[in-house]
Symmetry: none
Subunit: 213 residues, 4 copies
Amino acid sequence: MVTTDTAPSRPRRADATRNRAALVAAARRVFERDGYVRARITDIADEAGVAHGSFYSHFEGKQEIFAAVMAEVEEEMLHPGPALTAAGGDPVAVIAAANLAYLEAYRRNARLMALLEQVATVDEDFRELRLQRTAAFLARNARAIRRLQRAGLADQELDADLASLALSSMMSRSAYVAFVLGRAPGGPGVPADIDRLADTLTRLWVNALRMTE
Amino acid sequence: MVTTDTAPSRPRRADATRNRAALVAAARRVFERDGYVRARITDIADEAGVAHGSFYSHFEGKQEIFAAVMAEVEEEMLHPGPALTAAGGDPVAVIAAANLAYLEAYRRNARLMALLEQVATVDEDFRELRLQRTAAFLARNARAIRRLQRAGLADQELDADLASLALSSMMSRSAYVAFVLGRAPGGPGVPADIDRLADTLTRLWVNALRMTE
Amino acid sequence: MVTTDTAPSRPRRADATRNRAALVAAARRVFERDGYVRARITDIADEAGVAHGSFYSHFEGKQEIFAAVMAEVEEEMLHPGPALTAAGGDPVAVIAAANLAYLEAYRRNARLMALLEQVATVDEDFRELRLQRTAAFLARNARAIRRLQRAGLADQELDADLASLALSSMMSRSAYVAFVLGRAPGGPGVPADIDRLADTLTRLWVNALRMTE
Amino acid sequence: MVTTDTAPSRPRRADATRNRAALVAAARRVFERDGYVRARITDIADEAGVAHGSFYSHFEGKQEIFAAVMAEVEEEMLHPGPALTAAGGDPVAVIAAANLAYLEAYRRNARLMALLEQVATVDEDFRELRLQRTAAFLARNARAIRRLQRAGLADQELDADLASLALSSMMSRSAYVAFVLGRAPGGPGVPADIDRLADTLTRLWVNALRMTE
DNA sequence: AATGAATGAGGTTTCATTCAT
DNA sequence: TATGAATGAAACCTCATTCAT
């Protein structure tokens, strides 16, 4: 493999980049382990093998490095994998693919999704961020539902916005309960069987929208 | 000096009872205002008009007084109102009544429900508590779904436990988004119209379980 | 000796008073030793034999405890001793008495006067305070000069305000140089001979205002 | 490798000289703006548009660059202008000229004079420096007074050293109050009228030494 | 010499908890 | 039990100084 490693770029910039990356990686680990509230800058720096002071060369505080961590997660969440696009013309297949992709992405980043949830309850700025994401998610689903209604493929009686709220909630919360709370308590070992959960959710979507008739 | 134990031991109890109550009430206010993490014992005592030291005569710490606050809320959440029982034989009506009751209770205690959510992300013990509640909620709904399936009133293909997980999630998260996040963003002013939300949720339940056929 | 030690006053208030006093006394020592800028809250608390945290039960910060120290000094500076009033009708004797009293008070609190000077260069609030004191001092001397001018006892050509500025400056700075800088460098051991300094200053006042003619 | 010391060593000197000058100029600005204590090496380097590390190529620390700044001021303070020498034989005219020159020089560098005052309260080395200057100033004035006394032009009763202390103090402190504290508080706008202040000071000198008789 | 990131000692402040009265 | 000051463990953040490039 050929890399541009030889390029000298700028003198000390190498250390800087390395340290910044080390801090973000360490922060991710510490946040996952201790939660946002209990995580200490000290620990993040230690974990990164970096002096405390160096932290402040790169981030203003806990908030900022958390944002950096979430930015990384963001990307991971946004790569739905090829399945979604390959779904072809069948609307049910599209939903099934989207649901499975969502669950898989959620499972991959479960700890950090839970974290964002926590941070949103504690920090005003992240509350806002999470709100915007939720809104975007709801809007997208509402659009999809309206499209199906217009095509005569979904229950016309439903208020698309409220249905989107409800079904989006079903998705996100189910994933949260399944992957963060660890297992569906009192039920089957859900996390072990992501496909069955995805199937059920898809069937519920389809039923709920009355796409079958 | 010798006193007769029977009578004079009570007088101080008046102060004690009063202070305890004042602390719980103050704690509720402070928790709602500042959230669990930021709430300080100091503030709770101040808000209650009680010396800091007195706090520890009644509670071991923040955790314990929070439990006391939640115990109060518990009762409010558990009084479903008469509607539910009066629903008679119609299963759809039962679901509709239960859903409305749930939303109303949630709305009444939205701040504290959000709080419990927050605390669960921060405190191991409350995580457990919340888990148990969630499990109970899921179990109850799973039982109901199975009953309907057995009666031929619900989609037999559905895994009752997973369906319960999904539909229960839909309920709790929708309520959270609507009443805690303030308004369904990008949609109609949901909180203003609890009845429409309840109707939509009920319709989705009914559709999802295919109770209409 | 009889004291009111027996008076119980309020329960724990005794400790509080004692600690506050200990902190102020300790602060005075630390400030005199290290100067305002280098003095550390830590050292003040240690020197007072009090926990760091207790400092903040009594003062908001370094600024505030410094103000408390200066308030004590204030009183000492304001007790001119009996000499001043006993001066009788002779204006020269009044000036002589006032000058001596000023020098003695200054010498007694030399370290802290120097300190105030330092703090004024560093802290906006104290700059203001010092300014007001200086203004009061100038105004008082300007009034005295005008009185003498009106009585035909002082050079009518002099601008009373500017003369006050000049002569007041002469007093305060001479005291500073003599008692703070330690000794009049290149001259006689001034601090050892406060009376000769007072005599010279008085003679200069009298000459400068032409009170002798 | 052996190099000829004469020529090739200079090329880099261009950067060096430029940076050193930039740092001194920046330091002056920062010191005037923030005072010695609050001024940060960081800010000086930033203000000079130079890397932090470069600072230490030229100076050992804040102390040293402050000395460099003061060395510049020194020169400005020491150029009395031609007026002084032109005063001719009249002693009063000499004093008047010297006083005006002093006030003008002080006003020109008021900020930095105040700064030196501040630094002297904080830093042992500069305390010493300031002391020496003061001593030199006092000694010069004491010599002048003795000369006048010997010539029968000044009050023989005065202790020349103490009189020098007093009158020198009058000059320096009046200038400080007028130009640093901003205005003679409670009096006329002194800084606006440097000539009247100079006249008054001169008249007070003349009177104080009884040069008129 | 210039660069600019790394280092880490150091001081402030907060607040849960204790404890003598 | 109430009181409220004392306690002291944390944790944060700053900034002078170093150092590899």
